[in-house]
Symmetry: D2
């Protein structure tokens, strides 16, 4: 165990920011020493989130790299895509560890980033130092890195469902279809008409079909795991609830003799050192609310012998394991602390 560390959160006003603040309040070794933001700079944080009255006394400050470098050892960046890549190099140069919640450091192949996100990149050297912050797959590399590109919410749920199948070559290449369902907080704390309760309640729809930016992220990691190029079909849907993602993953098994219980055993073995992943018993499928407010991922597995497909269902809280709590899980690993330190493990039900 180490000493207490000073932590900064840049982009503190959004949903990623408030999750980090809330989680770090309960973390035994971290102190929040800097809350940075542009639009809300100068405002007491409790003005943005009144329920923190008496818990947080900080004021949001402008994003001043020198001050952040002076006053923090670890910085979480929770900003729109394209901003972290301008801040992270300066913070690293000042000795900070950086955990970025945007897409900026998720891609080893920067051409893929540019193709899907538009921004040209000339920072290959820095980007090459970044590790993809999915601890269940890259725990060892995270432990040694100072720059983490934290995964998207959909990729987290999707990859935890797919990894054992892909890594062990259990499915036919390119048959994976991910039908994902997300609560609306994934859209952020911005006043978008389609995310109004009046619009989004009582309704379900897909969006960005065949073109969601999380597709290349999932494919890149799958390709890394399998050693060959993998294509996936990914379709996100908006669900009338604030939090949670369920990824329902379909794929054709290579070996038609595999039964559900075989796969459950394989998954249990694959995740035996991963305290945050729960493989459910036969016939139990995950509810997203079981993960609400926690860093847990619940995985249920079914095999359809009629069709030769495996169906894997993976449930997380999109703002926790899908975003902020997973970033702190990474921090724990980077600091040599237990992976579960200071993170909520069990949801309140119902």
């Amino acid at each position: 165990m180490g000493d207490r560390i000073a932590v900064g959160i840049i982009g503190a006003s959004g949903y990623g920011g408030i999750q980090l603040v809330r989680l770090l309040l309960d973390h035994p070794y971290a102190d929040i020493t800097y809350l940075g933001g542009e639009g809300s700079a100068g405002r007491p944080y409790t003005e943005l989130y009144p329920h923190l009255q008496g818990r947080v006394n900080l004021t949001v400050e402008p994003v001043d790299v020198a001050a952040i470098g002076d006053r923090t050892q670890v910085v979480f960046l929770s900003l729109p895509n394209g901003l972290a890549l301008t801040l992270a190099p300066q913070l690293l140069a000042r000795g900070c560890k950086v955990l970025d919640l945007s897409a900026d450091y998720r891609f080893q192949n920067l051409k893929t980033y540019t193709q899907w996100y538009g921004t040209e990149r000339d920072d290959a050297a820095i980007a090459a130092q970044a590790v993809y912050g999915l601890p269940e797959l890259y725990r060892d590399r995270i432990a040694k890195s100072s720059l983490i590109g934290c995964p998207g919410c959909y990729p987290t749920a999707s990859l935890l469902a797919l990894a054992p199948l892909i890594k062990q070559g259990l499915i036919e290449p390119n048959t994976a279809i991910i039908d994902a369902k997300s609560g609306t907080s994934g859209g952020g704390r911005q006043g978008k008409v389609n995310l109004l309760l009046a619009e989004a309640d009582n309704s379900v729809a897909a969006y960005n079909v065949a073109r969601h930016r999380h597709t290349p992220e999932i494919e890149a990691i799958c390709s890394d795991l399998s050693g060959q190029s993998v294509l996936v079909q990914f379709t996100p849907h908006l669900i009338p609830m604030p939090r949670g993602i369920l990824a329902t993953v379909y794929a054709t098994l290579r070996d038609p003799g595999l039964v559900r219980e075989d796969l459950i055993t394989i998954y249990q073995a694959f995740y035996r050192h991963s305290p945050w992943v729960s493989i459910l018993p036969p016939g139990i499928y995950p509810q997203t609310k079981w993960a609400w407010g926690t860093n847990a991922c619940f995985i249920g597995i079914e095999v359809d012998e009629r069709t030769g497909r495996v169906i894997v269902m993976s449930a997380i809280d999109n703002l926790m394991k899908g975003q902020a709590a997973q970033a702190i899980q990474c921090l724990n690993i980077m600091m040599g602390w237990p992976e579960t330190l200071g993170l909520p493990q069990v949801a309140f039900y119902p």
Copy 2:
């Protein structure tokens, strides 16, 4: 019965506008001939509301008073407060009947309007022609008017609950307390953070306590009914659902001997010519969803003999009886048509 009429809707892009469009599609004597708006001018209406594909072929047009005057006989104004008062006089001058959904023509006393809405008024002559568009109370005057100030959603639910008590002097003056609960569509089709599903779902809170602008509107009509100045306590709450208002009204009975069944009889008599108001039998309290998508108002009545109070609960759809459908009810009366013409009467349950 009369001939078909040409109808314009100014402010067609918002929730009031889409309700009017939807309702008028089913109206046997009205044709929509003008959809006006500023921000959405030039866009096909089905771009704003794709589910109307194949039903509505109109494009939103800029607000051109001359064109509106030429092409319509009746105009609904569904605009932010303060705009109708600039348009209505011109439209009246061109021979249009005008039904305004904003607050501009709800007040006989323009000082009250200025005090609560800020805008100075010098149009007393025109404003004096306006009739408050609550047909259950002002049916005869609506029939003879060309300018209707349609009520707010909260005042509609509140006044239908209070009117029999106030009109007949059954309650102690100034004891009326209205605790109102509204779905979030009352906030309009604008991207406000507090109305996001992620924020408003799973939560209830009051807002504008002791200072909501619908308070003076309710008081003005109560005072008109009772012949003396009436104060009410009005508290609105936001409920995690898209549509619906429940007003729970408390007041101290003057005659402690009155029982629930007496009051039910009094209410039934009061509303015996009002096909849109349903007085519920003893022990049945209204669900807002019973009114969803209809112009109905359901009223349940209870007397607490221990405390000497009457409790009246009134449920409406805030966008229908609370806004657009009631405006068409007024139109029906203005045109000499049956009050129920073309309006949905029974909700789909559940």
Copy 3:
């Protein structure tokens, strides 16, 4: 057009029953003359559904076949699986037309029924007269039949999405995957713990994976359309909303040169005589709430050129096009009336 007809609804207390009652109130040629039920026999219908006060004066009666035969010309059966097959033959013998909302008459192959529903069948002659009540596919046969096996809610959404692909051989056999999302009213008006708001709200989960009873129903119709045996993957999910189904259908295209616009054209042609199906323009995907309270089906189509798959999204109201309104659409066809007669066409939004 014909004369008015007398209609009975057996199983009137459930969600299917209340939809039928509500819809028939607005139907110009139908009168409800019999409401039958067991558990609620003897109770005024407005005790079950107080919002119908003043609209429905009927009392639920015991299920007496002779009385039903005397007093109705058309009977809707809205009962648990396994009961219609005992009632329908008697009602047909008395000259009634029968529309059954259960699974009893959906299968031409009764062995399939027995395999999935458990009940042995010895009524092949009667069952062979039944027509599957999906008018977009079997309009002509429905017109000539007296016994309709109305489709399940999931099969309706799924088959309307799949039929053009299957019928015209556009997809690789057995690649179809249907990921369906349903509101909770599909579970009926029974007090099941997993359907409580406290349990089902804030959560999404799959159920009956690889073994839902609607699978063989979808496969039977697909096989009928294609002329060869078809397997589909079908996974239902429960969504925190009362009504609505979205079916997201994935399949591999045979001709990789087909683009989205081609498929939209094919679908438009396929459904050109089907007034209830709306094919959406490119880039627009259906919201289930667009269909809320109507008999409409909205279909959006996407092609992923990277993966060679088509993705079709189909949205309906599970209790309307997915159940009761579609049954009335069938009735309209059986009687020679326009298919749209008396049915709601446009939802109230939001």
Copy 4:
């Protein structure tokens, strides 16, 4: 601080039970050693709540008083009304401390209990030992008692709002009106039709108007605080959300010169030793979701100078401060531990 204690939960299968289990998992000094139930006896607890897999290894046992006495030092009773009064005396006799979540020990006047709950009582001696488990009012007596009658959810929210007004004689007697809004989990984990998502979503209604059983409980404590008999008006409403209660309390001020800021100061002083009560700054009103999953109570205060009334809004989580977490707060006090020990303090937002 003391040693670890062994805790039993009788009635573990319901919502009260699961909250207690979840909370005690995080409590540093308590071990769950007995989960008792009737209907679920013999089943592993994770069968009832699969998300606890890997966290709870206990099986539900029959309610065997001797075994409970042997294996526990503290027992929480989470049973329907009328059962605790048969169990508690036996458990007390075996040396257990008992915290009862039902109504059985909430009343000093057992006639009131019998009048509202029906059961005759002949256990006056035992009942007289019970202390009402609202620590903010009865902290000292709780510390010395072995039998706690934990408050109802509505009384907790209502009394925390009312207590400073009543205790200090700031309001006119009998003018208090409590309009309360509750999530549906208050109805318990039972399959009741009116609590189905399909029924309760999209709707708001009052229930048990003028006759809810929490009325005499509120009145008894108010009378105890004021030293004279107090009547209150209490109306509960069902809100489409799983958890949370907002009590909006109206009362007429005795001194019309009191302003909002005076009252905020009075409340802050009243609750200065109560870490779970947050008095909000002027103009901020509580959201129930701020308390979700915590033992917090948020209170907002407004004065309407026009009407002379104070409006106090109090928000809690009905299953936490309104039930299980408050019971553990009482346990902490009984054991001499800090009142906040092991209890969640800050909600996850949104």
